[in-house]
Amino acid sequence: MDVVEVVERDPQLLKGVLPMLVLTLLDQEESYGYELVTRLQAGGLDGIATGTVYPVLTRLEREGRLSSRLVPSAAGPARKYYRPTPAGLSLLADARRAWTALADVVDRLVPLTEELR
């Protein structure tokens, strides 16, 4: 089962880690909404929908985790580029620590499929 199937079957699984992924990618390089979606897809989340990502950006910006700037585009309306604020980077650090701790526990408690066979 690949990531696309997992996300389609259990969207909540992605919902929990999506802010962390968004903050990580934006920390690496600022992006506008659609570009960020394509970066997530290129990173392995092939099936992720634009309609899942945009509300996360809006929420993180409202909470002061992201800052934005409008950049005129020759192709159409101005693009809104996002990058993490210090509060966003702090949230990202917390999220990474929590994810690592959780992943350790899951790895310990849930044996790999091959080991079960």
Binding site: Y32, G33, Y34, E35, V37, T38, A49, T50, G51, T52, Y54, P55, V56, T58, R59, R62, S73, A74, A75, G76, P77, A78, R79, K80
Partner: protein
């Protein structure tokens, strides 16, 4: 990722319809942020359309109501939906006007079929109607204030618009530790 976007008339209409639907459902969001969200959504929709086509771009966003649900899920507190309230109130008011007109036409028709030349008086949901139908005159006059229809209209506006969300919130009293 900057491709030129060229849309047919039908595609432009579909994009416009989609964004209008989103705007309608986004009613509970504060106006300034709602405009910002719509503006950004339009820009991203155009980018996606230039990349994968309008069908796939809209499919990626999902149904307008579902998309808006994701936006509103993250709102700190619920707000009134004035547009929805106004639309529902307009429907009620329109229904009442239509019913009053229907009632009046019925009176005129009855006068005509019975050959009554004198005025007929009636009352419909608080509106007094005087109808006249004879060879020299065909008229209807209305008077009175239709309180019940107006009251129902206001109630529908407040209920559908969830007006209670506009009330100031009561803050829980803070209990200090001994």
């Amino acid at each position: 990722m900057s491709r030129t976007l060229s849309l047919s008339l039908v595609e432009r209409w579909r994009r416009s319809w989609y964004l209008q639907s989103v705007e309608l459902w986004l009613d509970p969001m504060p106006r300034r942020r709602r405009r910002a969200v719509l503006s950004e959504l339009r820009a991203n929709l155009d980018e996606a359309t230039a990349d994968v086509g309008l069908d796939a771009a809209i499919a990626g966003l999902g149904a307008p109501r579902q998309l808006v649900g994701r936006y509103l899920d993250t709102e700190p507190q619920p707000r009134p939906r004035w547009n929805h309230g106004a639309a529902a109130a307009a429907l009620v008011l329109g229904g009442w006007l239509y019913a009053t007109l229907f009632y009046t036409l019925g009176m005129l028709d009855a006068l005509d079929s019975t050959g009554t030349a004198s005025p007929a008086r009636g009352s419909f949901l608080g509106t007094h109607v005087v109808a006249i139908s004879n060879p020299s005159e065909l008229s209807a006059a209305f008077s009175g204030v239709p309180w019940w229809p107006l009251l129902v209209t206001v109630l529908v506006f407040l209920l559908v618009g969830r007006a209670w969300h506009a009330l100031p919130r009561r803050t829980e009293p803070q209990v200090s530790a001994p």
